[in-house]
């Protein structure tokens, strides 16, 4: 059982808790010689592969490092523009590290509120009476389970696509939220959850769920 991440969204669509549990590795490093076979472009202040999928480098991957140096946004650590370094023939052969972009906190907040509205539209476009919103969203890379509590909080779990039902786990997370976040006298409702006990117990629950399993990842 692999749980990639957990999100908790409040009634207004704000992200109040997020945890990355398992992070599948998507990074690839490769040494290139002069004319670079990939097309790179700047998107959202990042250098992204636009064309030329090969050797595990996919369209949408960002440049994470050049010759072992970290890339920050579109620049190297010393302030040089990544695209200029890559365009310069003198720098070749060049080792570039690619990977899926890490989500920033801002992007996560945005995605959470985006899901909040997708959930509502999903129920509005229903062909049947009294539909809830999206409870399970399947793709070939992951499954997203969403459980909305009666008070309107949404608990979201991203898991491996081969994974069976997560209902039990979602209920358990809700229980933990009720026990450790809501009973914390310093916690104000609808605000981000910063509570050590909740963190610890959630981590323990996810670890336990990981072990009680039918298959191990990769088998």
């Amino acid at each position: 059982m692999t749980v990639y991440s957990v999100y908790i969204i409040n009634r207004a669509g704000g992200l109040i808790y997020q945890l990355d549990h398992a992070n599948p590795k998507t990074e690839v490093e490769k040494t290139f010689s002069y004319p670079l076979e990939l097309t790179l472009k700047i998107m959202d202040e990042r250098v992204v592969v636009a064309f030329g999928q090969r050797d595990g480098i996919h369209v949408g991957h960002t440049v994470l490092g050049v010759n072992g140096e970290q890339v920050k946004g579109r620049q190297l650590e010393d302030g040089r523009e990544v695209l200029e370094v890559i365009a310069n023939q003198e720098n070749y052969p060049i080792a570039i590290r690619f990977g899926r972009p890490k989500l920033s906190t801002n992007e996560r907040i945005m995605l959470a509120s985006m899901f909040h509205s997708l959930y509502a539209i999903g129920s509005q476009l229903s062909p049947e009476q009294r539909s809830s919103g999206i409870q399970l969203l399947e793709t070939d890379a992951f499954k997203l389970y969403c459980y909305q509590t009666l008070s309107g909080i949404k608990l979201i779990v991203l898991s491996d696509p081969r994974q069976g039902s997560m209902e039990g786990l979602l209920k358990k997370i809700y229980e933990l939220y009720a026990d450790y976040a809501l009973k914390n006298p310093f916690y104000s409702i609808d605000m981000p959850v910063r509570c050590e006990l909740f963190d610890l117990n959630l981590q323990a629950t996810l670890d336990a769920a990981e072990r009680s399993t039918f298959y191990a990842p990769g088998s």
Binding site: L125, P127, I134, T139, D140
Partner: protein, 144 residues
């Protein structure tokens, strides 16, 4: 098991075709607005999953379930989108949507020089063939 409705969109968001079979609730807006909302929903889901996914995709978005219906999605590389709503107990519909595309859409629309490709479909032959195909599916049983 039942099938509620089917939308076909082109890559610009025009609704090429819509048909419903056992739909019990209307969305409470004009059909035009509903198409736009549906296209927006699919467009946003695609962008949402491409960013939130921890891994790379092959096919991307496949389907979603609420507590009373399931939406199946299939997109061709040319951007044509097939969206089919069914009840929850229906299994994967990917092959069926693929068949709709390759055997019905391509045969009766793309190969018909009188059918413009970016306008809503008016071909009666297409409509009857598609209707017959959907009604013939094992997932299409109205009783219960």
């Amino acid at each position: 098991m039942t099938i509620y409705n089917l939308y076909i969109f082109d890559r610009f968001g025009t609704c090429l075709f819509y048909q419903e079979w056992n739909r019990s609730k209307q969305s409470g807006m004009s059909k035009d607005e509903e198409y736009k909302l549906m296209y927006g929903l699919i467009f946003s889901i695609k962008s949402f999953i491409s960013r939130i996914s921890p891994m790379d995709f092959k096919d991307g978005f496949l389907n979603y379930c609420t507590n009373c219906y399931k939406l199946h999605f299939f997109e061709t590389p040319s951007g044509l989108k097939f969206i089919l709503n069914s009840s929850l107990n229906v299994g994967p519909m990917r092959e069926i949507l693929q068949h709709l595309y390759s055997a019905i859409y391509v045969d009766l629309i793309v190969r018909n020089p009188l059918c413009p490709l970016n306008k809503p479909i008016e071909s009666m032959l297409f409509k009857t063939k598609l209707d017959a195909y959907i009604r013939g599916l094992p997932a299409f049983t109205t009783d219960e």
